[in-house]
Symmetry: C2
Subunit: 151 residues, 2 copies
């Protein structure tokens, strides 16, 4: 499993907040209730999002969270990268360049590097807005990174 509940719930929270856009600050209790998730666990996850600059927060009564930018300005890759730490499919691939000592002669490395690239390309092309409007063409359609998407 590449993406744990942490990343999945983080995305769920972001999508929920994107849906409430314009309603001011939304409390975590509301989000947890709507999404039927543990508020305590969500607390630790939303803290990462907040510290990572993804959100604006307001403490005290009537406080809560809201998106720092517009939904179309978030891509899924950055949300998952922040919460998961890495999206690399294998631990011999690091985000800041490869560091395995056998890298120079490893015949399987290009495969893993290519897989990493494919995943990154896919996730960085999809925004929160795409998820809200249900842009199934982009998500489920025949994905093609470089050619014009006419299907």
């Amino acid at each position: 499993m590449m993406v744990s509940t942490k990343g999945r719930y983080a995305l769920t929270v972001m999508v929920d907040l994107a849906r409430q856009e314009g309603d001011g600050f939304v409390s975590l209790a509301d989000i947890a209730d709507r999404e039927n998730l543990s508020m305590k666990y969500l607390e630790s996850i939303i803290s990462i999002l907040n510290k990572g600059g993804m959100l604006q927060s307001l403490r005290g009564k009537n406080g809560g969270y809201k998106l720092a930018r517009k939904p179309e300005e978030y891509n899924i890759s950055e949300i998952l990268l922040l919460t998961e730490g890495t999206l690399a499919p294998v631990n011999c691939i690091m985000q800041d360049g490869v560091q395995c000592e056998k890298a120079a002669t490893c015949s399987t490395l290009p495969l893993w590097a290519g897989l990493d690239k494919v995943i990154e390309n896919y996730l960085s092309d999809i925004t929160l807005e795409d998820i809200i409007i249900g842009n199934r063409k982009k998500m489920l359609g025949d994905y093609c990174g470089t050619c014009g998407s006419e299907n």
Copy 2:
């Protein structure tokens, strides 16, 4: 991490065997020595490959393993799927159709399903032969599942 050492080593073993094609049965000790991996651990991994019909084995002296088919007849997806059990990037995606009870109303499901598809498409298009000959174009080139690859 989507692919553990089990899957990675399995692929390493398959590539090693593909390189020794035509040399008859190759002992696990030889493979472990060449790849500098624990023979004992490799034993449990190669057992999965063998039971899954990926290999032919011969017990006793001068025994060992060899590929059951030609290198170009294995795609990477089936090797990893056999050893890892699943390649799904999240645990709400199962190989035999989705089973999460919220699936019908889940707005993030198409994203995960699409990611799963992109990964599967990439890995099932690459063969053992591609790895041996170092087909970097296919592995690292701008991947495009549906259009002709002219880059």
